[in-house]
Every structure is written in C-alpha cells, then in structure tokens.
C-alpha cells in the first residue's frame, strides 16, 4: 500500500488544502509588494488561530512576539492562555451608582493598548437627562464634557461589548475571524480579520471598532503583557472590541474597568458559580439587558442596587 492511501481522508483534505494554499500564494505573488521575502510569506500564510496545532502556534507566537517587540521597540509577550474549564464570564453594571466619570474608559484604553490619536474607546458612556425617554438610546449624549460629574439631573449608562451568547457579529463574519470562546468571551483573530466591517453592521450595541489607521500608542504606556485574542497591539485595517480583559480574567484577575471604578458600579464573575456575586445580583436585584428584544442573550447585566 502506498503511503498516500494510508492517510485518513482528513489528512488528504489537508494535503489538498496545502496545495490550494500554495496556489493562492502563487496568485498573490503579483499582489504582494515587490521584494517580499520568506518572512512576509510566513506572515501572509499564517493559519487561522483555531486551526493551528501546538507546534505551529508556538512558532507563530514566537514570530509575532519578535515582530511586535521590534515594531514597538519594547519587549512584548503574547499569551495564548486557554479558557478555564467550568467558567462562563458575566458582567454586572449598577446604573444607580455610575457617576459618568469615564475612568473605566481610560483604564481600558491603557490596559488594552487602544490607539490614542484616533481615540479608539471600547467603552462608550452615554448620558441621559432624567425624565427623558432613554431605554432606546435615541436621546443619549456620548460627547458630554462637564467639569464635574455626576451632573445635576443626569444619569449615565456605559456600553461595551455585551458578550452575547447569541452574537450576531459571529454570524456575520464571512471568514470566521471572530468567534465565542468556551468561557463566553467573543474574540477576534487580528491576523485573520479581513477588515470588511460586516460585524460592525451586525452589532446592535456599537461595540466594535475599526482601525481606520495604524494604531498610535505611546511606547512608554504600551502594556507589554498581552494575549493573542486580547490586548496585543492591533494592525491597521482590523476590527477590535472589549474582550472582558481576556489577558487578565483568564489569570483570575478582574477586568481593568472593574478594578478602576471609584464607586464600585462594576461587577464581574463566573455565571456558572451559584455563589458568585454576579449570580447573587442577578437573582436579587432589578436586572435588565440591553435591547433584550433582539434575542442576542448578552452576558452583560445592568442593574439597580439602590
């Protein structure tokens, strides 16, 4: 029996894939800038995050760490820490406490290496006037700038990725570049995203951001401890969004926004643990989720503690 017939159909499929990939590579030859070297090819042909085996992943991470450190002139580590078993993350936000100070917004920017010049923010704080219709967000103000918060007669509602259990963005992505992890976090492979922005049109919460230009991060403020699916510096032309600080929460730490909130309006925990704080407030407080009628089933709960 020849070696080929010993192969499982899956292996033969892979062979065919490799062949076709080669063909694609050949076609792209004219598209890649002249003088592209082996290094560029490696970058170009990098596989989907979930399709790489351990060895391939290790090699890719080594290259990316080298590349990123060189680009940002700082030693940067990229973790691929997996989801902790029996954990599904959930978030609680106490609207009766939030004072609209936006400390969460800027803590997030710093922790997650968002672009400064173009002001990419993963958290949007909406201001509403008391007594106005507000649940449909029509009368919200996103660019309020008062010297002091909370303002008289106003209340605030921060919005970020709601980490839907039924995420429309994942359905939309034509290349499976965004997906839901076992711990419930919706992530993006920044090396696989083609930048079509279809996910942004699908998201009902305005949570996704596009890198319209190359991100601008001050080198001394760059957070060097990163996760592949989280806060590593992004590329021009890819989509990004809140990941519940995947680089922190998978290590048992709290998201940066939860830690920084001066009034304790932000809660975070494991939805599968009946004794967690998030479960307590879900069953004892007045809870609602944003745009519940769309059936996206968010894991982000707004509540009123007082």
């Amino acid at each position: 029996m020849s070696q080929d017939t010993n192969k499982s159909p899956r292996d033969r499929m892979l062979d065919r894939r490799m062949f076709l990939k080669g063909a694609v590579a050949g076609l792209a030859l004219s598209a890649l800038p002249a003088g592209a070297n082996a290094y560029d090819w490696e970058k170009f042909l990098q596989k989907h995050f979930r399709e790489m085996n351990e060895a391939e992943l290790k090699k890719v991470i080594e290259r990316l760490e080298r590349e990123t450190s060189l680009e940002w002139k700082k030693k940067i580590t990229i973790s691929t820490a997996k989801a902790i078993p029996d954990v599904k993350f959930g978030y609680g936000l106490d609207l009766s406490r939030c004072i609209g100070c936006r400390r969460c917004v800027y803590a997030c920017v710093k922790e997650n290496n968002q672009s400064r010049a173009n002001q990419v923010h993963w958290i949007t704080v909406l201001r509403f006037k008391q007594g106005e219709k507000w649940a449909d967000l029509e009368n919200s103000e996103k660019y309020y700038s008062s010297k002091l918060v909370p303002e008289e007669g106003a209340f605030y509602m921060p919005v970020q990725c709601q980490q839907c259990e039924n995420p429309p963005c994942v359905k939309a992505c034509p290349a499976q570049a965004t997906w839901k992890e076992p711990d419930g976090i919706v992530v993006i492979d920044y090396n696989w995203c083609i930048g079509c922005r279809y996910c942004m049109t699908a998201c009902p919460y305005g949570a996704r951001r596009f890198n319209w230009a190359k991100p601008d991060i001050p080198q001394n403020e760059l957070n060097p401890e990163t996760h592949y699916l989280g806060n590593r510096p992004r590329f021009k032309g890819v989509v990004e969004k809140c990941t519940f600080c995947i680089q922190r929460t998978r290590l048992g730490k709290l998201p940066a926004c939860v830690e920084v909130c001066p009034v304790g309006a932000r809660k975070f925990g494991n939805l599968l643990d009946p004794k967690s704080e998030i479960r307590y407030l879900m069953s004892n407080k007045r809870v609602f989720r944003l745009k519940e009628d769309l059936n996206t089933n968010p894991k982000f709960y707004y509540f009123f503690a007082t």
Binding site: E138, S140, Q176, G237
Partner: protein, 406 residues
Amino acid sequence: MVYIVRNFFKAIWQVTKGGIGYYVWIAFLLSLIGLGIKTYLDQYEHGLIITAMRDQVPWGFYISNFTFLVGVAAAAVLLVVPAYLYNFKPIKEIVLFGEMVAITAVTMCIMFIMVDLGHPLRVWHLLPIVGTMNFPASMLAWDVLVLSGYLFINLILVFYALYKLSLSKEYSLSMIWPLILLSIPWAVSIHTVTAFLYNGFPSRPFWNASILAPRFLASAFCSGPAIMLILFQVIRKLTKIEIENRAIFKMAELVAYAIAVNLFLLGSEMFKEFYSGSIHKAPLEYLYFGLHESKKLMPWMWVALSFNVAAFLLFLIPKTREDLVTLNIGAVLIILGVYIEKGLGLIVPGFIPDSLGEIYEYWPVMPEALITIGIWASGILFYTLLLKFAIPVYTGDLKFETKKRV
C-alpha cells in the same frame, strides 16, 4: 498549435487597432484609472482613514456602488427571459451585449469590495477550502458564492457564443440551454442575497424590513435595462450592428412596469414607517425630512424621487417612450434616480442614527471619490475592449482559423 497562437495575436491586434477617437477614449479612461490606482495606493498605505467612513458609518460610497452594480448585473436577466424563453427575435440578437454588461458589472462589484477591505491581501481567508468561509451562517459568504457563480455562468455563455460565431457557425442553443435557464433564477439570487446581506440584522432597523429584497429587484429592473438602452444606441451608432427600435422600445416598456412597482414599494415602506410612527422611522425620516439638524441626504433623495417619477411618466406614455430623445432623457433620469436611491440612499441611513443613537453624517470625500471613478473607468474600459473584440466577431468581420480551414 500554430493557429491558436495566430488567433490569439489576431484577437490582440483587433483590440489595439482603432481610429483616433478610439485611442483618445482609451487614453482618457486610462488616465482616470491611473488616478484611481494612485489614490488607492495612498489608501493602502495610510488605511481607510483617508475616506469619510468611521465607526458610526462603517460602510459608505464603495459599498453603495457595489450594491447599485449588483442590480445592474442582475438586470441582464430581463433581456434573457424574453430573448430565449419567448423567442422575441429583436432582443435575442442583442442579449449577448447584455450578458457582457453583467460580466463587467460583477467584475466592478469585486473591485469595490476589494478596495473596501481593511486587509485586501487576506481576502483568501473567506474562500472555501483554502480559507475558513463562514458558510452557511454569513450572508457575505453566500454573496461571494452567488456572485462568482453568476460571473462564471455569464462568462461561459458569452464566450461560447463568441467562439461559435468566430468559427462562423450558427451556435446551437441546445448545448447551453440548461445554463441559460439556470442564469435566470441565478440573476434573481444575486440581488436577493445582496439584499439579505443588509436585511438580516435587527441592529439596523432600516434594512431589517421584509420589503428590502423585493425593492432591490424592482429598482434593479429599472436601472439595469436603462443602462443597456443607452449602450445599445451607442453600439448601433458606432458599429454596423443593427439593433431594431422595436427591441429598445420593448425594454423601455418593461422599465416602466419596474418603476411602477418600485414606486409602489417605496410608498408601502413610507406608509408603514410613518403611520406606525415607532422610533424605527428615524432613518427614513432622515432621508426625506432630515433628522434634527442633519439633512445632508435629503435634497438628493427628493431629486431621486422626482427623477424616478419623471422617468416613469416618460416610459409609460407611448409617445415619449417611442421618441428616442425623450426615451434617453428618461433612461438617464432613472439611472441617476436609482443610483442615489440604491447607493448612498440605501447604505448610509442604515447607520443613521447608529446603534447607540448617534448621528454621524457621512458624505464621501475626494480620495474615495477618485478610487470610485477609477473603478468605473476600468469597468468601462473592460466593456469597451470586450465590445471591440465581440462586435467584429458578431458581424462576421473577424474570423478565426481552424485546423480544417488550412
């Protein structure tokens, strides 16, 4: 072997020779394309920041043009149906040129998608087998499949016909009959799937209306044949090809019905939104009356509406329909009307107000306009070259050698 090479050079020679007018035309198109490429390289280097698109309105002029052109491509079916199914002779003779419009339009669609991508070199990620196409969940994956299928079908149909004609043979329909039949539902499918692309997400209430796909088809059947109406007159003016007035008037009549349906559907949508008066009427309100102080698209929408109504009357009344001057005015009006309505008038209000209630008024800026013009110029150049080759084949002036004839 030798005759294949010789035929190849014959074909090349055919598209490169022409009068002074031809060269001026080609040079004009090439300079627009050059400007487009230069601007695109700039966009490639600096990112899509050089456009007016932002997170609030992530799709703009490129996707607007894409949507309009899918409609143009789909409308080729309107020629195919009477030509082949009902054997309407005058249209049958020109259906080839309609199919060539479809090929050109789909090619332009692909270019508009490519320039809209943040990472164009990664486009293979969404292909089946080599990439990880999200099929059947993503409507964009469906769109890639139906559009490339449509391109493929029309390429086969056109080149089969040209091949047979070039060997001075009567081409037999029986060979390609299944493909012709297939092309009809397929044309409907490309525009339906493109409508579903927008239609499928409740995050954008303006698009999330069941009337969207029917409206897409109705408007496509207005603008597509209108473009061909004008093209056919140009073709018969510049070449020996005879296209009967009868065929042109027949198409104009079909356009009149399509405009009627399109206007009716628009009215239905207006009624539903404004009578029920829920907050989801905001995008339509933005389009036709302005939302708060924002009314950038408003004048354009009224222009489009009046163009559509005027074109409807011109195409409906037999006297103006069968007069080439008024007919052409009507054709230009409906093309512009649909271009506004199914272009910016469809894409932008999907994002106004955005999903958190913000209003960001998008209007294309110079770089994206130049890139768009560049793509239109390359489409027109492509069609010109196709015609340059196909017309002499069609009239029998260009013959190819075969082994037998040696």
